[in-house]
Amino acid sequence: MTRAVLVRGLGKKYRGSGWALDSVDLDVKPGETFALLGPNGAGKTTFVKCLLGLLKPTSGWVTLFGLPASDPRSREGTSFVPEAPRFPDYLTAREVMKLHGRLSNLSGDDLNRQVDSLLESVDLIDASKPVREFSKGMIRRLAIAQGLLGTPRLLVLDEPSADLDPIGRRNLRNQLIERREQGATIVLNSHLLSEVERICDHVAIIHRGRMVAAGSIEELVPRGQDLETVFVDLITAADS
């Protein structure tokens, strides 16, 4: 079966510094909801960027649905919500959504319907001002809305809950659960372990660029413990 995400020996070394990622292997099957966990500076964002072909790996390779990540066709049906989203300053939320919709091969009534529905769901339907006048929270909500355009088959989210209020977080969680039920593969990079436990069925823990553990939540978290305890124990053990 073709893997949604297949990573082998992935390494990334930035000029003038050490290895941000070192020989990472990972398999994500279609329909899995997968969380990438790790302390700050562990290499999670670098991993996500390599996954989407935004960074060129120093070693190893990545495929999305059987195609190399460097091939733009591998990103058909893929959406990304970055940690620090930026949009063209002078476009409105609707124009940003239409830009991303068209780049995802949506058009006509279907595009307009999805844009209206998603802007409504993130409470930006009446936002007619340019993006440069948006608050951090509004930009985050717009990033989530563009990420949900076009029924994505792979949704990659890097710290999507940052800057969101509790209502926004609940809405995001519901949207992700809905996409999961529609069969989307989700790769979630988050510090909110309680959120991860609610949404995800598989996790990988990365520390100092190396994979420390990977598997289903049932496999990794013994009965009577929670993900946070397991996470802290694994990182402490890796440090010592």
Binding site: L54, F80, P82, P85, R86, L99, A143
Partner: protein
């Protein structure tokens, strides 16, 4: 081609909301009003006044080309480096869009703005023509095609620099200096041809001239308006009526675009 056009049109939409175009339009209207006033009243002040009006009109058209060049630099200076460094390009490139499509789309957005500038300046000249005795309208299409090419070349040079530098203001300064340097090479080449420069210096200048991109010269032949036609501030130039040299000018433009694409393909986000 669809992603390229989508990115280009989004860039145009963004540029048209910036203050650069409003600034350009305000200057254009002021200059046009001044030219019309002087041209309309040229018969009132005798031969000396008539000559002064011609001089001011020539200077005004050159000044508008200079403002158009600055506007072109302003809309192109943030084409690649800024969106790559601040993360704006990341969201677009996470879609099924190739990097070369992003680079070409951004450049095309600048070229569309250049065409808008040329249309506005063509409108200005046409309006002033209504008050002139000598009509040159049959030569205007070639003239504006030439101007559009020269501004497109400037947009391409600015975009190439923006793929190397992340700070827009440095790109703008660098682009302006490169454009002026091309002018200096042209002057030195004339000096080399007329033996003012000799020996190895003349050789270096000729090689530099051969390697540097060239702008085109307007085909306007009317005595009055061939002087008035903006020529790009003395940048190395070839006549746009000369087929082989025009092809070479396009080859240089294509080389600049190709270099930009190669750099964009290699950049990390």
């Amino acid at each position: 081609m669809k992603p390229v056009l989508t990115i280009a049109l989004a860039a145009v939409r963004e540029h048209t909301r910036r203050k650069f175009l409003l600034f350009f339009l305000a200057i254009l209207l002021a200059v046009t009003a001044g030219m019309i006033y002087l041209t309309y009243n040229r018969t009132l002040g005798g031969a000396l006044f008539d000559a002064a009006v011609n001089l001011v009109n020539v200077a005004s058209l050159s000044f508008m080309f200079f403002i158009a060049a600055l506007t072109t630099i302003a809309v192109s200076m943030g084409n690649i480096g800024r969106p790559f460094s601040d993360g704006e390009a990341m969201l677009v490139l996470a879609r099924p869009v190739a990097r070369w499509q992003y680079g070409i789309g951004r450049l095309l957005g600048s070229v569309f703005v250049v065409l808008i500038l040329c249309l506005l300046m063509a409108g200005q000249m046409q309006v002033v023509q209504l008050f002139e005795d000598t009509q040159i309208s049959s030569q205007l299409p070639g003239h504006w095609a030439t101007t559009a090419f020269n501004l497109t070349l400037l947009a391409a040079i600015t975009t190439l620099l923006s793929s190397l530098l992340n700070t827009p203001i440095l790109v703008a300064i660098g682009s302006y200096l490169v454009y002026q340097a091309l002018g200096a090479i042209s002057v030195l080449n004339v000096m080399a041809k007329s033996d003012v420069l000799r020996g190895w210096m003349a050789g270096v200048v000729r090689i530099a001239y051969f390697l540097s991109p060239k702008t085109l010269v307007s085909p306007l032949t009317s005595a009055q308006l061939s002087e008035a036609a903006p020529r790009g501030g003395g940048v190395p130039s070839v006549p746009s009526t000369s087929g082989g040299t025009v092809i070479m000018a396009f080859v240089y433009l294509a080389a600049i675009v190709l270099a930009t694409v190669v750099i964009v393909q290699r950049r990390d986000l």
